[in-house]
Symmetry: C2
């Protein structure tokens, strides 16, 4: 065996560098890797020849040196694909991995990339000074959403994740976590730099962070992790893009672009958030900024543009703490400095007392009541520019009486505001464009000088890295030596070889006129294509499997009719991973025992989606049945008639009460529901969790007639635990239920202009009793 391996190895070069003899060792069969790794010496390069490698479980152990690391790399960066059940674990020192592409698979372990090789009965091999660089991890999801993993897990000290592109995680667990349990991993000074964190879709519940540093159990430990120069693009997994839970971390010069979440100092203290860009679109209210909990953070030189988030998602959201908080809950904010930041066209730049929940004292234990306001906190030398003046510059969910405001300037378009003892001053400012999305408010009066707070001299450069020495200006940019930072040039982040920009492509329309063609075209079509149905009947006896983005519509104005005679409890449309279906102008008819739409019962490792419009649906057992661990970002029914079904739209299997739910947006507009006997709408989220901000239910302009006959819980629209509910301009007629809806008053549940005839009532419960999640 040994001889064969050695014979196999192509020793291309032997480079003598000082006293280390360095080899380039080529591998094309993954079976040889273990032996090659075990023989590797400092300076060796182990080169994976281009190709696809499946089920690769690499334990990369060894001892390189600072000057002569052991390198494992792709022959050509990006031309080595790691697929199937694969992972990479580092154990040792000065090991480097470069150029790999993880896709079409998942890790059978707790992580895809792990900086530790664990052992049950022996000490773990922990990595130090190791690096994972110039690689891609894409859609490498566990088959089940609730099965948790990490894509990169740090242990040890001085490890690095750099110049990688990482995107598409849908299953439970942060994308990247720095674990610091154990003295081997504290004071780690890890570097997470120059990466491109691409889209992470909404997870529909907690544990969808892009980066998590530690956890509450290690929140007393010094970490010193450095997260810099990364692009976070559409990192929408959950409300926390970055969850910092340890001490002395530094976030510098990162760009948060259209990411539906915030950088949150969730646990731990003394974090520096310096010179980051938070860029929104002026519309989406989910793009967040910086949410502050705990002690001693410095938020300086940051730039916020076009952010419409409020409350938890405000550009600066300072939370209330719990007095003598349990370790895993909310410590009071103390000793925080917010200085030299610039806010351009943000809806609610500063909120204090966020999460204050004194009104919930009846349903929550004392140890859950956030009543401790921020103290010893300074907000100074910031600039706010608003195209449209704000009613409240500072939103006080609880009094900001422990905050000192000094030398802040706002252009509020003449609207009056509370100025906190002169700490916020109105001035007429103008915007100077530096590049798309980046503007410098100019026009600060000449005699207006920065406040010199304690240790403010340590803020020695501005957002652009320009020295603040002998400079008395305020805001993120001094205005001297200004250059365009080009922060949205994606080529500055991630790998040398991968881009997530996809060329726009016109959809192809595939005309079909019978069932065989329909099935064939659905299989053959490309993502985004259109299937156009000729007029007539399509009698189907098995499910249509949807695994891509498709629009299925009738060719003309007349609706094609799909009649489904498949088995009981099977769907006409099986909505599978990546299956995003739009149906337009069709008739769907079942046999009263089967379903119109359903997700898979398992292996929903990626999201589905559904829009139905201008259609008719009737005679099904379920209109839509969504199984546990399935998730759609959007499910929409509009201008559609739904009648004579045993059940309606059901998304209620996430009963673990851990905050999970099945769709972010369920929208019903201008639909007619007639004789739907039960579960007309059933949309559930369980668990008391102040930081889950979904889902969203909109029911508007619709009529519900003779529905709910078999409804066991006597409520027509069931949406228990859903945070945002709007029921408006509907007519409910002759529905034999006690309640049309029970709204959660403490959250964003509202109704308006509904007409109720012989249909029970709409009731508001201020505080819902839910299971505590933590």
């Amino acid at each position: 065996m040994r001889n064969s391996i050695i014979a196999f190895l192509l020793l291309v070069t032997l480079i003598s560098c000082k006293e280390v003899s360095q080899s380039e060792l080529y591998i094309s069969n993954i079976k040889d890797l273990e032996q090659v790794i075990s023989n590797a010496k400092p300076g060796d390069e182990i080169i994976l020849k281009n190709g696809v490698y499946r089920d690769v479980q690499i334990k990369f152990r060894g001892k390189g040196t600072k000057d002569n690391p052991i390198v494992l790399k792709a022959e050509t960066p990006g031309e080595v694909l790691i697929e199937g059940e694969s992972y990479l674990k580092f154990g040792g020192e000065y090991l480097v991995v470069e150029g790999l592409h993880f896709k079409n698979g998942f890790s059978p372990s707790n992580a895809v990339v792990d900086f530790k090789i664990s052992h049950k009965d022996a000490p773990d091999e922990i990595a130090n000074n190791c690096k994972f660089t110039n690689c891609v991890i894409e859609d490498f999801n566990k088959p089940k959403r609730d099965n948790s993993d990490l894509w990169v897990q740090f242990w040890g000290r001085h490890n690095e994740l750099s110049n990688c592109y990482i995107a598409g995680k849908t299953n439970r667990g942060p994308t990247v976590r720095v674990s610091i349990a154990g003295i081997e991993s504290i004071n780690n000074y890890h570097q997470i730099v120059n990466n491109h964190f691409g889209p992470r879709p909404v997870k529909g519940g907690p544990s969808g962070e892009t980066i998590q540093l530690g956890d509450s159990y290690t929140s007393m430990s010094p970490s010193h992790t450095y997260v810099a120069n990364n692009l976070f693009e559409e990192c929408n997994g959950e409300v926390e893009v970055i969850s910092s839970k340890t001490n002395f971390n530094v976030f510098k010069n990162n760009v948060f672009y259209r990411s539906e979440g915030s950088l949150v100092t969730r646990h731990g203290n003394y974090v520096t958030v310096d010179g980051n860009y938070f860029i929104g679109d002026g519309v989406n209210e989910n793009y967040g900024g910086i949410r502050i909990i705990n002690t001693g953070h410095w938020v300086v030189n940051n730039y916020f543009y076009g952010l419409k988030g409020k409350s938890f998602r405000s550009p600066l959201a300072v939370m209330n703490g719990i007095p003598k908080s349990p370790l895993n809950r909310y410590n009071q904010v103390t000793d925080v400095v917010v200085a030299y930041n610039t806010y351009v066209n943000c809806s609610s730049p500063w909120q204090f007392g966020v999460g204050q929940n004194l009104a919930q004292a009846d349903v929550l234990p004392k140890s859950e009541i956030r009543s401790a306001r921020a103290i010893r906190t300074t907000v100074a030398n910031n600039i706010i520019y608003n195209e449209k003046g704000l009613e409240k510059v500072v939103v006080e969910n609880d009094k900001a009486d422990g905050v000192t405001f000094k030398n802040n300037i706002i252009n509020n378009q003449g609207l009056e505001f509370k100025d906190f003892d002169g700490g916020i001053v109105e001035a007429t400012l103008e915007l100077r464009e530096l590049s798309d999305n980046i503007y410098i408010p100019v026009g600060i009066p000449d005699d207006f000088e920065a406040y010199d707070g304690f240790d403010f001299n340590t803020i020695d450069t501005d957002l652009l890295g320009v020295s603040r020495q002998d400079d008395k200006s305020i805001g993120a940019i001094t205005g001297k030596n200004v250059s365009n930072p080009n922060v949205l040039d994606k080529s500055k982040y991630g790998t040398t070889w991968f881009s997530n920009e996809i060329e726009a492509k016109d959809p192809v329309t595939h005309n079909v006129s019978n069932v065989e063609e329909l099935i064939a075209r659905i299989n053959e079509a490309s993502n985004g294509d259109i299937i156009a149905l000729a007029n007539g009947f399509y009698n189907l006896d098995s499910s249509l499997e949807i695994q891509k983005t498709l629009l299925i519509q009738s060719q003309g104005n007349e609706r094609a009719q799909l009649v489904y005679s498949g088995e009981a409890n099977t769907p006409l449309f099986s909505l599978q991973p990546y299956g995003k279906l739009t149906l337009d102008n069709v008739v769907l008819k079942g046999n009263s025992e089967n379903y119109a739409f359903s997700s898979l019962k398992q292996n929903m490792y990626n999201h589905f989606g559904l829009t139905v419009q201008n259609s008719e649906i009737s005679d099904f057992s379920y209109v839509l049945k969504v199984y546990k661990e399935s998730f759609a970002e959007r499910i929409t029914f509009k201008n559609t008639s739904i009648s004579n079904c045993e059940n309606g739209i059901e998304l209620s299997e996430e009963t673990n009460d851990k905050g999970d739910y099945n769709t972010e947006y369920l929208t019903i507009n201008n639909c007619n529901f007639n004789n739907i006997k039960a579960n007309v709408i059933d949309y559930y989220r369980g668990g008391y969790d102040e930081s889950t901000i979904g889902g969203n239910l909109l029911v508007s302009n619709s009529t519900f007639t003779n529905c709910g006959v078999n409804e066991k819980n006597k409520t027509l629209l069931n949406h228990r635990g859903i945070i945002n509910v709007n029921i408006t301009e509907n007519t409910f007629k002759n529905n034999p239920v006690q309640f049309v809806s029970i709204l959660w008053g403490a959250k964003n549940n509202v109704e308006s202009e509904n007409t109720l005839v012989n249909s029970g009532q709409i009731k508001t419960e201020q505080n819902l009793k839910l299971t505590l999640m933590y």
Copy 2:
């Protein structure tokens, strides 16, 4: 005014040093000090002429420089006394105070020495790089025990308390506190070095620490306070001699000598306890060691000798934590290293799971149950030497299954012990004497080498400062380059001019034969003297005031009789601050409305004490009435008959339920109680507090007859909340009560060999319901 001051100033010298012109400015009238201070320049020396200064409230503000501080000093160190209502506050930079003696007074403020000058409506003036050195603070107590203050309070950064002698604090509050609230006071690197902390008497309740670093509310903040080379002598204030509540503090080369308490990592993390001496007497069980809570501490190179403490007071007491503990309670112990320590003749060197209280789940909320055992903790390279073998080397109050034991050696005199997977090894050792109390166990087998744990290379010297490089030995002392550290030579600590060693003096006996002589001699006698009463009657109508240590006894065998006709509710003996009275062989008789003994109702700014033996007491309203905020270390009645009184011994006014009580030891031995109608013994401590370890009640060999007729709560001996109670070998006869005693089973309350005749029962309640203190 100004001219007069300038004229007054004696400008003795003007020294030109570089470009700073330095002055020596003499002050003899404290009124001038403020102006002199306000004019002081770097390098100036402000000199207080020798003498007594009363009611001196110094605000020492100014800006010296590193090379040229502003100095305020005594003309002759120790010859400047600061008395009355006085304090010293520092505000500014590079200020030094030297040579003062604070006594006969108290601070009217929150501290005697404060490194901050506070203002209500302006920013505080915080001290940095200031020093208080070569001074004494002695018995500078607030008049009321419950009035809290500090004697030295740190704020700011780089301040120093050095070479001082500080002793005698009896009122509430730590002697020294480092406060770190606010960013101005974190990362402070204060130095508390070379001081002599003299006796601090037992306080009788919490808040009697000698040094407290921070509090739970700032326990997440980095402090880096350095406490080194101090002598702690009889620092008995409470169970914590040092209470470390912040992060990264260092305790190095301190000597804890006969101090009834421990060095406790109460809150905060990553504390280094390196090379300290904990020296007991082989008898007293109250002398403690190091008690560990929280994460990341290193306990290395320490030496423990003759410590008999157990449980909370073990040489190493590792506590259980509360899962998800509230901020002010007990976090789990994690990531602690205990290495290279030496334990000589200690009763219970290592205890784990200390404070485990699962059995109290019925009476305590979940957030008070310490069930989280230590994890990721290493105990390695330690030596234990026992003259007498231990039944248990490791006491597991809860399983030590999260602790790794490696390469520890014990000489256990052949007794078997649990060896934790070979982590503790028996060897035959001998002691090599280095000096009194300091012994090196020798005889470790040659092939027994130290375990090389993670980062153990950072333990680079031993207890004596000898390098550990290339050394594989275990225990606190490598054995190489050994020299006698002379750690108990008091001249190495504290000031250049003060010693607390008092020359032994033979007591003088003052013979008296009438009331006038008695009163006169009590006034004139010196501390420790004897008053000898001629046989006969002494009819007193006003109280005898006891303000010193005195023994009052009959001259011969026959008992002198003191008959007291003073007003109702006044005492025959008024026990005042410093009044420690022993009565021997006398008869005391009252008028049924007055008292035999009582403390003052207020101003008990120092302790009293009482021993009564071989005497008879009768016909009083109270035998002993102790008022709130009075404290005696010991109250003893022995061989004494007590009869026909309305009330007995009452110490029950500490009803604040904050853990306070009135005497540490109440001892009744071989006494006869007859017809004491109520409050026969009434001794109270309130509040659930796991770290108050007193009081102590011993009732033995006594008889109680016809007592408790008027007892409202139907219990003869009331001792609710007292931790240690022993009722043994007594006879209770014809006492019309329901209970003789209700014992607290969960604490150390026991009874044995009592005879109960027609007297109710002795009952044990396992768990007492008390008010939560925190």
